[in-house]
Symmetry: C2
Subunit: 322 residues, 2 copies
């Protein structure tokens, strides 16, 4: 099969053997996949990953032990725990110390014609939702993770820092609970996309210090963290919702004086994400900038690296960009 691989020599489109499902795994024929900022970081060396890139996908089950699942349209959770350790037994498989992560660590990813995942990682999805919407389930799930980590109440003032794709998704998820969630950014085009998704937008200098009950840092940069510390109210939480590569420099005195809580946040629950897409709580179409065929996968990644880009998708069976 064709696959987009991270190698010592860089990113290449290669012909590789299709994976073989083992034990409780399913073989999934991938139909479409999304390029995430984490993929771009991996291409730059993050996680020292070698193998097939990609972890946001939708596809159909091709082979598995459970005949009821054959042919089902699915999306998939990306962490594969050992299933036996203390964390896995507490349903914290996402934090298993020896986990593999699809396209990120110890497991080939979804920028390929086929992938394997344990059946328990797969979620069936409604036929009514198009492939290009379902490529957003994984990042939207990551946004719902925030709601499992901090208490958000109607009427809370929320600011999301970062006009990238994750920032715009996170702001929509929070805006559904807390109207007037503000997306803070600097790129006029991306801010316009955010507004077309129904969000309020602002520059950080326009906002009152210490006035937000929750701040989400989705810029991935120390400068964003400085703004977050300025905007959050005393005792308020700052959620780190981004891929960081390198160190973050923090004004620790302010964290202590204002008793601020900084909460790292990663993968999240798929059910509310699928429901949000189905129910229209999150609008993803304005974020899609391009769809490339897998044959042009290297060009797709290069395109996604352009700073003005939001979402780039890869269609496995398409032959031309729609």
């Amino acid at each position: 099969m064709k696959a987009l691989c991270v190698t010592d020599g860089g990113l290449t489109l290669s012909e590789v053997p299709a994976p073989k499902p083992r034990g409780n795994e399913a073989l999934v024929r991938v139909s479409m996949a999304g390029v995430c900022t984490t993929d771009l970081e991996i291409v730059r060396g993050y996680m020292h990953f070698r193998g097939i890139l990609g972890h946001e996908f939708v596809g159909r089950v091709d082979q598995t032990n459970d005949p009821r699942m054959i042919g089902r349209r699915v999306v998939g959770e990306i962490n594969v725990g050992c299933g036996t350790c203390r964390l896995c037994k507490r349903k914290l498989e996402r934090h298993c110390n020896t986990r593999a992560v699809l396209g990120i660590s110890e497991k080939d990813g979804c920028f390929a014609e086929y992938l394997t995942l344990p059946l328990r990682n797969l979620h069936r999805v409604p036929d009514v939702l198009e492939d290009k919407l379902l490529c957003f389930v994984e990042p939207i799930a990551a946004c719902y993770e925030m709601l499992e980590q901090v208490t958000v109440m109607q009427g809370d003032r929320v600011a999301v820092l970062g006009d990238g794709k994750l920032g715009i998704l996170a702001a929509q998820v929070l805006n559904h609970l807390c109207a007037d969630t503000v997306l803070v950014g600097i790129n006029e085009r991306k801010l316009a996309v955010a507004r077309s998704c129904g969000l309020l937008t602002a520059r950080s200098s326009e906002l009152e210090p210490k006035s937000f009950d929750l701040v989400v840092e989705a810029t991935g940069a120390s400068a964003g963290m400085c703004v977050a510390v300025k905007l959050v109210r005393p005792r308020g939480p700052i959620i780190l919702k981004s891929t960081y590569h390198g160190d973050l420099v923090l004004n620790a005195a302010q964290l202590v004086i204002d008793e601020i809580k900084v909460v790292g946040s990663r993968c999240g629950p798929f059910e509310p994400a699928i429901a949000a897409l189905a129910g229209g709580a999150v609008n993803v179409l304005p974020l899609i900038d391009a769809v490339f065929p897998l044959d042009e996968g290297v060009a797709a990644i290069k395109d996604a690296q352009r700073p003005e880009r939001l979402k780039v998708l890869i269609a496995m069976n398409a032959k031309a960009t729609p």
Copy 2:
């Protein structure tokens, strides 16, 4: 009256007018006070404070509107909020944006014969507790603050990083709830003091990574924060319980991947701290290295700056070091 003042020219013992209580304030005749690491940071320039230093004290009420309080032995909370803002009305006076803080910001402190504080800031203390014990109420209260910020359960594995006075107090407060709390340090003498207070001690290299349900960072240094990130379990909290001067460098990727929570922690509730001293839950006597008379206040601060020192006290009416 005599007072130990931070001036543009450095720390000096000066003769200054005694403060006059206003409105709801009490005039307190200070009997003994404790030197905190924050005081040493202020002498080095932290907070740009100018005025009388010191915020840990015990004394007797000398003047006030409430005749029942005259002559009472008291300790005092150090934050003085405006009393009218949104935060003050939510009992978050400790976080009032325009607060004064005894000996730290906008208010003269306790290294003096007299101080003033609003009556509502004062707590009566049992006569059975000696002055030198009561000088620890404020820092022990700061340790109880942690229990209001994170959920700690019996059986949780707890590590406290930092063999300074706050680390040893924090470890004792947590050890009372979670037996086998480990104090992590590098100074053999201070670790011996910690053991004499009933604590387990260790070097960080002896501890299993990701095995602690709660880690308290009380070293005040980036290196301590690195160790904290290594030791805490996925999704576990790290409490920042120290005075930081300057930036803290963090491995943000690890915070996100392990979904770690970093919680700044400052002043806390006085009631449980007084009860802990009265009930023997916290043993402070082994931490006292010296008691200086106020006349030798400059020497007291110099002594407290020595790296091997734990607690240095200042007795307002004593004439010689006991």
